[in-house]
Symmetry: C2
Subunit: 322 residues, 2 copies
């Protein structure tokens, strides 16, 4: 290597894997959360793969039911961001050498619970043994009306920026899980993400672009900005917070960096043309999900955080995979 021995995940994908997907229209240059496969004249199949590693993406001593929920829900969250209704998934399990059957039983129970909750069924996969840590890869499948799937690209200058639910609970919950913060509510939120599967499909025809908050609000709103070639302004005082997050922030305001820069919220970031605002509110009402406008898309590039109209320094740009 001429410059550095290592490159980051996004650069790696852009340099080596995006060229392999260049001619596949539905792959969106691998910059999209989902792949869209033309399935029939009326519907596209939406496909998303996520891999989680024990000790990296979830705590090594996490309950197997929670690991199952996390593995599935991170994919369902992406499908929701794509406007898709999930229906099936494939599961690959690389079990570490010391695996216990009781662990697998709990994991399967967790999957069964979520199958009922989200109306999905397992359709295949693979199981192998590995000398390394437990690794779970799920490829989830959803459906969306042909050509109507939502991606990060498509926002226009002047579009409003909305988010679902509350922001920061995932990252603060990780602190709680590590014992750095005392909040069972936040910890639960980190351990049991709630993908917005009821809202996502209702955003088709309403949102101009979407992403889920997996890397952090600033990063994921920024992903929409980059894919849509726009700047993003986020007004910090409008970012919706849970009561538990508000308490955690008043105890230590520096945790704003976690709230805005940390990941694992699995809420949706939504770009909405002003004329569609009422349609968005109706969709959110029908889905039973709260939505909050927190900013807007502008000409230019980059994410600008403001407080009372004044620009602020943005904390770190989101979860860096490697």
């Amino acid at each position: 290597m001429a410059r550095t021995r290592r490159i980051g995940q996004f650069e790696l994908i852009a340099r080596y894997f995006a060229p392999l997907a260049r001619c596949f229209k539905g792959a969106g240059g691998l910059e999209s959360d989902n792949a869209f496969l033309p399935a029939d004249p009326k519907r596209d199949l939406v496909v998303k793969t996520d891999t989680i590693v024990s000790g990296v993406h979830f705590l090594a001593d996490e309950k197997p039911e929670f690991v199952a929920a996390k593995a599935l829900r991170v994919c369902l969250s992406d499908l929701a961001a794509g406007g898709a209704t999930p229906f099936t998934y494939q599961l690959s399990l690389a079990l570490s050498k010391g695996w216990k059957e009781s662990w697998v039983a709990g994991f399967a129970r967790g999957l069964a619970t979520d199958q009922r909750r989200y109306g999905i069924l397992l359709c295949g996969g693979d199981t192998v043994l590995s000398p390394g840590p437990l690794i779970i890869t799920i490829t989830a499948f959803g459906r969306v009306a042909h050509g109507r799937g939502l991606t990060r690209a498509g926002a226009r200058a002047g579009d409003q920026l909305w988010v679902s639910g509350t922001i920061g609970d995932g990252a603060l919950g990780l602190l709680a899980a590590h014992g750095l913060l005392d909040s069972p509510a936040l910890e639960r939120r980190f351990r049991r993400p709630q993908p917005r599967t009821t809202l996502g499909p209702r955003l088709v025809g309403v949102a101009s672009a979407t992403a889920d908050v997996s890397d952090g609000l600033l990063a994921d709103a920024g992903h929409i900005g980059e894919a849509s070639r726009l700047g993003v302004v986020i007004e910090r005082e409008r970012v919706p917070l849970s009561a538990a997050a508000r308490r955690a922030l008043s105890a230590a305001p520096k945790r704003w960096a976690n709230v805005l820069g940390g990941g694992d919220d699995y809420e949706l970031v939504i770009a909405v043309p002003p004329r569609k605002q009422n349609a968005l509110l109706a969709a959110a009402r029908a889905a039973g999900v709260r939505v909050t406008q927190i900013g807007r898309f502008t000409r230019g590039r980059g994410v600008q955080l403001t407080l009372a109209g004044q620009p602020m320094r943005t904390p770190r740009k989101g979860y860096v995979h490697f």
Copy 2:
């Protein structure tokens, strides 16, 4: 656990994961190589996930181009067994901590070569870092006429048992790769499996059941027998061998255990009703692939190996995943 602490891969899937797929018709109870997703009124989507682990499923010092070919081709082989024509795939890469960009570049080159060879394109995936070994999961997608996809179930008593190509080169090639046998030709065969993508789709309407030889001829023919609730008779003297395999066997006849019990051939095992024999030969000719009848399906259960009409003891039943 009451009985034993550990169960094997097949039992694990049957006990914990098959119930999760019970209501998904196209999943075939997870006993099939592929999942069949209804896509449009005319075609089904055929989906297959395979995970390979460095040091387990391929040599840890294997060239990245070969690792890419192996990862893709094991999936394409299953799609071929399903009668499907491949068109896209998702890739999950769990890179080990010491990964080098040059390795990824070689891996991507290998994928690009096979994309051209098999007419497929990458459509998405995930890349993560793991403290364990490199693990690659590919979910490959093919298409087959609606309801016509081939599975292991469907053979009938009296059907002929055929195989494509030659058998045993994969397992003998593994010995060669480990330096236990001097044969560059066999080693190449192990390192570069040739999935029967041209033959598989031509078997639709011809074969009554199919499988690919990934676990070993006896095991994979046995999988058809089990899924079709039949016995299988294999006449050892009819098993087609490459010149290199014949040499390896005459030097050490005990290697018959590898030939019949070892995996990684990625040939097709094909059940064919006698009245379809000519159609099979025509399909093989059109595909440019040699096929050989090696036995038949019978009432009863189990795999019976014969030599000159006399029953033989069968060697170990095929690659045991764990």
